[in-house]
Symmetry: C2
Amino acid sequence: LKKEAMDLCQKKLNNLTKPPGSLGVLEDIAIQLAGITGSTSPSVKNKTMLVMAGDHGVVAEGVSAFPQEVTPQMVLNFINGGAAINVFCRHAEAKVVVVDVGIVGDFTHPDLIQKKIKQGTDNIAAGPGMSYDEAVKAIEIGIEMAHEEVQQGAALLGAGEMGIGNTTPSSAILAACIDLPLEQIVGRGSGIQDEALTNKIRVIQQALDINQPDATDGVDLLAKVGGLEIAAMTGVMLGAAAHRVPVMVDGFIASAAALAASRICPKVTPYMIASHASMEPGHQHALRLLGLTPMLHMNMRLGEGTGAALAFHLVEASTRALEEMSTFADAGVTSS
Amino acid sequence: LKKEAMDLCQKKLNNLTKPPGSLGVLEDIAIQLAGITGSTSPSVKNKTMLVMAGDHGVVAEGVSAFPQEVTPQMVLNFINGGAAINVFCRHAEAKVVVVDVGIVGDFTHPDLIQKKIKQGTDNIAAGPGMSYDEAVKAIEIGIEMAHEEVQQGAALLGAGEMGIGNTTPSSAILAACIDLPLEQIVGRGSGIQDEALTNKIRVIQQALDINQPDATDGVDLLAKVGGLEIAAMTGVMLGAAAHRVPVMVDGFIASAAALAASRICPKVTPYMIASHASMEPGHQHALRLLGLTPMLHMNMRLGEGTGAALAFHLVEASTRALEEMSTFADAGVTSS
């Protein structure tokens, strides 16, 4: 990050009419944005949520509360503007872009960006979810989409997702990166019961045993135990950083994508902003590994990018404070 | 609260295209709003932040990092739109109303609502801050202002403040309500150093010893160790509840006002929504007494109503989800 702009931003913040540091995380974000963009007047008015969709062969193992057909159904819902991610993005005045990187079936729609790599991943409990090359392709699609949105003016990106079963590969990615028992990091996803949770833990252990993913290689992680939409989210994060644009990290799936991104390029994490603390137990561990702290504690566990979309408002509040607040001198306020 | 509307709202939420309960606190808020308003389509589009301003005789004891003249200076800043509360309310599309209930001096401005009761409180370390009647008057001003804003269409209120020195009376109110050593609940306010903090604790102990406030009587608390703007904030909360309008509770000062409100009328707390977790150590204790849980963890300690203003967006997101999300049936999504 650009140190000089960060120092200038700190000075600018100290002259605004408030006790120094009293805006807390909003001041940290302002300084981070200055470091990312090189500007002490960063604007994040143009925001895009890139929602990546893909299916997971591992649903055959009974790891999800919802059937696979819900992936295209919800994608259609996204396109029609009726899902939570649409509502929260409208509320934040953010654009939603939906990309098919691996939905099972032949679902097409003029508003769905068609980048399908394959008909969902293969079952990770029986072998790799995809080849190394396919994982690279999925990451490249995310990079490309980030590039297009930045070209069109986006100054803040979010990576969202739809993929029935995707807390299972996300848990596997995290498990490969951390020395904790699966019981502490695997959760109920969209709402499975006790017996299904026990089965889910067994399936994840089997996926790790069979595939032996290399936690130092983000691409290997994504290929062997990840998912197409997770890899594309990793690409969005890498692409955002490459363009010096901040990227909002959503809940558990996004944190797994962020972990993979950090294993591909450790310099990507300073471009990330954490949004909310998910109810999924692995999320806090993934954020800790990334060195990120969430702002919103809402007990949410929906995914899609919804927590990130809610946090757009906060990042924008930070930039508006920097831009619109008067200084002690201008307002004639005694500074101490 | 209206139980029937809450049950209907819960049913409505369960039919929306998301796993049941997955929006967490946003679903709790939707149900709370249904209970408050009796509607399963509550709107909080019209929001008003009522900023109450008053001074504190206790600043003579050296309890604040800023001199008393900053109160009218910052109030002028509010009127000119240059403070953090203005920026965040503009960002949330909320109206800001600034009311003088006890600023020291003759400051007037056409956009400042003039309701001055007295030239600041008397020094609470030497006797009561104001008379019982004056506290009642200040509360009534808050009720009246809430009434006016609701008449003009406000569907969500916030209570903000400006008053140099006001973490001292707020700490005294909390201390009278809780069995904890002052060291655990008194903080640095706008940023005092160690020595001044020790002095602040001594001053608060003296205020409690001299005044012996009755913690079961919210008016007595406000009169003896409170403040004019704190009492007016208490009034805003009581007035909001009386009109069946939700009210956002900001940081430490607001939580002290809310405590006093709950001692005047315990039925007021279900109308409150907690916004952020302040860095001021007493805040978490006050919220716990009120049974409230904050959504935003931003390490903020600015006051004014800034945390509440940031949380307006979240409450509105809750109502928009309820109104704009499609149902499983309408979207053709398999519900499990």
